[in-house]
């Protein structure tokens, strides 16, 4: 979500076919007869060591050898070998990467069914994997991609996105954090009196977490899925109208520099306005604390993250959650061992290693193990009625000249500057959605 740099990423994907490297030999045992498990993982912001440590723990427990391939562009490393029939046994790689490797395997039915892992006991412990996982993730399109009862992708790390704000400011002013849109807009008026804007966004692209949550808030999960699947005339529906009306109203409360800074070069200045107490809320994710770590902050600043407000008190509140997943290719030669390893990833030992590096697994009670901002950020799931929302627009064949995300998010700039109305927005969205639907089949 952060790096929308045009060329490089996709070019990397285009290069999949050339860079052939890595280990050879399809044998799945070492010379002394130990079974070998090949693991491939995307190197995220948490570093490489966490995997090595977890693997060392696993090797202590079991008589296996785990070979790890880890890279920031892991697709480039494993795809050529996969084409040649050499598959890794366990892969940590989420959906939504520009290479679309995970999605491709989903489409090709190339993943092993991991439903059994949920009921299995965590190696070395007496509880099942299912017992440990937080609610709301299993069963979504993020884990059960075919929309049935079978789980193919296990949630590995997760992180919430929502509205980021300065907790300290709310305490100093004695303001309540709003839970409904009525409260939100009332706060907007109050803040305006003090010269504080209600809302900003770093760039319009950051509105993804906001919009997806709002769609689900207003129309429920079912409506959200319809929008993501480009159902016919879905943007003409009453729910969609309401979503756009609320958004338009919220955008009328945005800080006056929002649009001017909403580009790749200046977006941190919009983020800075939260730190300076000139704006109250912006859509963002847990990485913000590290990203703005060195930036000067208003006195008493403390990171806060809240789900977006709802229509009525007590409605379900959705948190758009980005998820990295772990899966087993169905071509793996060591499936049973691979599944055991996947289950081990949820053990207390592994969880402790991951948590130390702020790689947060969807395990119950994990928030207690976290420190600082992360504790504050992840406690967002503890609020009543909160549900995690995973996924995004269904992938289709590319449609020439149509980018529905650009229409949905970037138009916000034109709404703020009053170059377009909510009606224009709705019309454009419906057109784009219809074109995408035509390409779905």
């Amino acid at each position: 979500m952060l790096n929308k740099r045009i060329g490089a990423a996709v070019l990397t994907a285009m290069m999949l076919t050339v860079s052939a490297c890595g280990s050879n030999g399809a044998s799945s045992t070492t010379e002394d007869g130990k079974p070998v498990l090949k693991m491939a993982a995307l190197e995220g912001g948490y570093g490489k060591e966490i995997y090595s440590e977890v693997i060392a723990e696993f090797e202590k427990q079991q008589d296996v050898k785990v070979e790890l391939t880890i890279s920031k562009s892991i697709e480039d490393e494993i795809t050529p070998n996969m084409k040649a029939g050499k598959y890794p046994d366990v892969v940590v790689l989420g959906q939504g990467r520009s290479s679309g490797l995970t999605e491709t395997l989903i489409k090709d039915k190339g993943l092993e069914d991991l439903t059994g892992v949920l009921a299995a006991k965590v190696p070395g412990e007496e509880v099942t994997v299912q017992d440990k996982l937080v609610d709301g993730l299993i069963g979504t399109l993020g884990t059960n991609p075919y929309g049935n009862e079978s789980t193919y992708l296990m949630p590995m790390f997760y992180s919430p996105t929502g509205l980021v704000y300065n907790k300290g400011l709310f305490e100093q002013k004695g303001w309540e954090v709003p839970t409904t849109w009525d409260e939100m807009f009332a706060l907007g008026e109050t803040a305006k009196q003090e010269g504080i804007a209600l809302f900003t966004y770093p760039t319009a692209g950051y509105l993804d977490s906001f919009f997806f949550a709002l769609l689900a808030d207003v129309g429920g999960q079912e409506f959200y899925d319809k929008v993501m699947n480009y159902e016919q005339d879905i943007w003409q529906s009453a729910e969609a109208t309401q979503v756009l009306e609320i958004t338009t109203k919220l955008l009328s409360y945005s800080s006056d520099t929002t649009v001017a800074y909403a580009n790749e070069q200046d977006f941190t200045k919009n983020q800075q306005s939260i730190l300076d107490n000139t704006t109250l809320f912006m859509p963002n994710g847990t990485w913000i604390a590290g990203e703005m770590g060195d930036a000067p902050k208003a006195e008493g600043f403390a990171w806060g993250l809240m789900p977006i407000p709802t229509l009525n008190e007590g409605d379900d509140r959705y948190i758009v959650t980005s998820m990295e997943s772990v899966w087993v290719p169905s071509e793996s030669k060591n499936k049973e061992l691979a599944k055991e390893f996947v289950a081990f990833l949820y053990s207390d030992k592994a969880a402790a290693i991951f948590a130390k590096s702020n790689a947060v697994q969807p395990i119950k009670g994990i928030a207690e193990q976290l420190t600082g901002e992360n504790q504050s950020f992840y406690s967002v799931y503890d609020a009543p009625q909160v549900k995690a929302l995973v996924g995004g627009f269904v992938s289709t064949k590319p449609v020439e000249g149509v980018n529905i995300k650009a229409v949905l998010f970037d138009t916000a700039n034109s709404i703020i500057s009053k170059q377009k109305t909510a009606e224009d927005w709705q019309k454009d969205l419906n057109q784009a959605s219809e074109k995408m639907r035509a390409a779905k089949e």
């Binding site: 952060l2 790096n3 490089a8």
Partner: protein, 287 residues
């Protein structure tokens, strides 16, 4: 007389305004590059509190601007060598020799002036990719992509039309008596070109060097596309610094990077600026 004085004042005012609009931002970048982190959150027009060299050290060490600098130098210089070796003789022959096919060649190169590198760079990338696939057995890690020498070759190739246009324009202005004299002395075609004609075209060649140095040194679109790996050139590295996630904390480093990219071009320009005008117009004014 008064109106004449006013006119003079007016001239100096507008000249100075334009000059200021150039000098002030440049100075500002220079000053910003020695500011400390905390100074970037205050008034951006304040004079730096001290000279904070750390920005440069960080740019070279953490942001790898040092190795990018070497990459840029290598690609730029190699491209210049290839370009001159290839384009100077071609321009000379196209300007001074009558032969079959000359017209069509001139027309093709003229047409090349209208080809914008920015939209053919992707087909070039795909072509190189295909080449790599073809050679996959011998060079499993790829030969053409992520190769600075290939980048230099592409740089040189894509500036051939303009270079030939400029140089042959200049060659045409040289009187024929020189070649006639050389022929009487028994010089071969080759010696005539190397010993007599090329030295005479020096002003034009200097212009070509400067123009193309700037084009190669400052390019980021081609380098971004053809070097997807860790070997980057300076402008691409700089662009990464600008859009890096942690840009908020590293303005000093960014401006230091700007200066690092700017200085070599400035030095070369100041060295050759006197000759620049001569060579530049020769191509343009002829008819």
């Amino acid at each position: 007389m008064i109106s004449n004085k006013l006119y003079k004042v007016f001239i100096y005012v507008i000249l100075s305004l334009l000059a200021l609009s150039i000098v002030v931002p440049m100075l500002w970048v220079l000053l910003a590059s020695v500011k400390e982190k905390s100074e970037f959150y205050g008034n951006p027009w304040s004079i730096p509190a001290g000279v904070f060299i750390q920005n440069y050290i960080e740019a070279f060490t953490e942001a790898s601007m040092g190795s990018y600098l070497l990459n840029s130098l290598f690609a730029t210089l190699l491209a210049l060598v290839i370009l001159l070796a290839v384009a100077v003789p071609a321009a000379y022959v196209l300007a001074r020799y009558k032969f079959k096919g000359r017209k069509i060649l001139n027309l093709l190169f003229m047409g090349g002036l209208f080809i914008n590198v920015n939209y053919i760079v992707v087909p070039i990338f795909l072509m190189l990719l295909d080449g790599d696939k073809l050679l996959g057995n011998w060079f499993p890690n790829g030969l053409f992509i992520d190769n600075l020498a290939v980048l230099a070759l592409v740089y040189a190739a894509t500036t051939i039309p303009f270079t030939i246009y400029l140089l042959s324009g200049y060659f045409q202005t040289i009187p024929e008596v020189f070649e006639e004299a050389a022929a009487i002395d028994g010089c071969s075609h080759f010696t005539t070109m190397v010993r007599i004609m090329i030295p005479m075209a020096r002003p034009s060649i200097v212009t070509v060097i400067l123009f193309n140095f700037l084009a190669f040194w400052n390019d980021y679109i081609i380098a971004l596309t053809l070097l997807p790996g860790p070997h980057k050139t300076l402008p691409v590295g700089l662009l990464n610094l600008m859009t890096a996630q942690k840009a908020a904390a590293n303005y000093g480093r960014l401006y230091a990077g700007l200066v690092i990219v700017m200085v070599p071009a400035l030095i070369l320009y100041i060295l050759v600026q006197r000759r620049l005008v001569e060579g530049m117009t020769a191509g343009g004014t002829r008819e």
